[in-house]
Symmetry: C2
């Protein structure tokens, strides 16, 4: 039986959308759930939700970590926040995975504090799904970028492991047959980017199990050229936030056009398909959540602005990952690679 | 007398737009010019241009470095490329500055090879101007981001010097009274980003001559919150290329709407002001060029797709920088800072 721990208080619209998403997912699966949060606030929604009480355990806590809250000292002062309790439950094997739409940094912190890393892996990675397809082509297309901010800087081994982790997530959870793995760099040539990136390039080229397509550059991020983009957390965090900023600009553009009079209103209505399409592709709420990879158990961070659909997807992804043995696959492949490769020759 | 060396063969539309831009600028100033390139190709345009032959020296060379050309071995094999000759002229004080619309990496390479750095500065920076104003506000607004790719990784001293260099360029060349200087980071708090960035933060906060506003994040890049964005070359290069990629997506969106039938054609025509405005703000050809700072003399890289207006601006900026003593100001301020500060305490 799969059991998912869920932060009932995380995100801008909690607990309402959390419980609504949970209710939806409970109809599609036989998983069980542990919902953590403020009972007073959650109970009215729970009652309405129609979730079978036999399948859900509720753990009450008054504490919470707000979205924009600074995290310094959090580990000491907020031990009873839902994500902390959730990560502890996972570490004690009382739950198989944790889902939160709350403060990303807090989830990463909770995972790092309580859940052991997969043996041989030294750094976890926040893997963000973003819409990457060239607007020239049709159909949905997303890429996975990791790390989006769990690390700051990375060494050769960290990045190689990120590539493997991204490969398995893309293949087994996102359903991409032969994920194209790329290294985010400042040039496309193999020789670009300094010692760490050139070493990672060499190693990834030699791993026959993955489809490494080489370096990609900043302007490739929206061209849908790769399924998995590998980079250190500092770069991934800045990159993803630039794309979020662009999505924000789209909104402003749309509003401006709408406000500026009839001519533009008409234009807006007619062109809105195009703009909506662009916005939709940049809309993070459509893709469920960002897994934190590298730990023995999975934590998923859903977007803070998640609606119930996004929450439902995030919980579903957590459940699928547990059933598919995602973390175990990553573990086995890293163990095998670490036995074959000596990373020490690449140390600076 | 100011004398500017100009790469006659750099960029997608050389030599035609180079000579047209040069011709325009020659009417506004009494500067002199050295034009370097293939005489056979340049002569027809020169004849038409009406530039006073007494103010322009032409140096012929058959060699050139193409836009996308790989630069490995260039220093040995392409010593007679226009940018190499131009940088040598500057180093021999036969010219005061170099302007090229060619391969950015080649200009950086030529500068690094031939032009001495300002004493006390260890790394040069490519400073890219990009349109950063929030679409909510009116009027032009640009920011300067450095380094956009002359370096890969940076230590504390490099980044502090970049901030000073950006300050003087923004103030004296771009005409911003008290440039807001920001550090590009993965979080806004002072404690974010690891040892190097937190140390840079501390130092910049203590320099009373500059207006340091703290850390900015990826989504701030298009919000016009800072006039100078400081980061290492790897991050700056990727960030600027993401923004270029977004501008490309705008194009595709526009074309798609245009191609997809009458309804959208009408919508496109009506909304085009909004889209054009967004595109214009992301259009690099409007802002002249990217200076390479940190050297005793200035090199300016204009966009490869520069038209004559952009070339004119780049040459004008080079001339103004020479007249204003930009490099000397940077030198004096860095000397003063280096005397006050011991960077060694910040070494890891």
């Amino acid at each position: 039986m799969v059991k998912i721990a869920i932060d009932g208080m995380g995100g801008d619209f909690a607990p309402e959308v959390i419980i609504a998403g949970l209710s939806d997912v409970s109809k599609e699966t036989d998983a069980e759930f542990i919902l953590i949060g403020d009972k007073k606030k959650m109970d009215p929604h729970l009652k309405k939700s129609g979730i079978d009480p036999g399948r859900i355990e509720v753990i009450h806590t008054d504490e919470n970590i707000e979205m924009g809250e600074s995290l310094s000292g959090t580990l000491e002062t907020k031990q009873d926040a839902p994500v902390m309790i959730g990560a502890k439950l996972v570490s004690e094997k009382r739950a198989d995975a944790l889902v939160s739409a709350g403060n990303t940094g807090a989830v990463v912190l909770a995972a790092s504090k309580f859940i052991p890393m997969i043996q041989g892996i030294e750094r976890g990675a926040l893997a963000t799904i973003y819409p990457s397809k060239d607007l020239n082509s049709d159909g949905p297309d997303i890429s996975l970028l990791l790390d989006a901010g769990a690390t700051i800087h990375c060494n050769v081994k960290h990045l190689v492991h990120f590539a493997l982790m991204g490969h398995f997530y893309s293949k087994n959870i996102l359903g991409i047959k032969e994920p194209r793995i790329a290294l985010l760099n400042m040039g496309s040539e193999e020789t670009k980017g300094g010692h760490v990136l050139t070493s990672v390039y060499k190693i990834l080229k030699g791993i026959s199990e993955i489809n490494f397509i080489g370096n990609v550059e900043g302007y490739d991020l929206l061209r849908g050229v790769a399924d998995v983009i590998v980079c250190e957390g500092m770069i991934g965090n800045i990159s993803i936030k630039i794309l979020e900023g662009v999505a924000g600009s789209m909104d402003v553009l749309g509003k401006k056009a709408y406000d500026s009079g009839v001519r533009n209103k008409l234009g807006m209505a007619l062109l809105s398909n195009g703009l909506k399409e662009l916005k939709r592709r940049m809309d993070y709420t459509e893709y469920g959540g960002a897994p934190i990879l590298g730990f023995q158990k999975l934590c998923i961070v859903a977007h803070g602005k998640s609606n119930s659909k996004a929450v439902r997807k995030a919980i579903k992804v957590a459940e699928t990952s547990v059933r598919n043995g995602l973390c175990e696959q990553i573990r086995d492949s890293v163990t095998e690679l670490n036995m074959k490769l000596s990373f020490s020759e690449f140390d600076e």
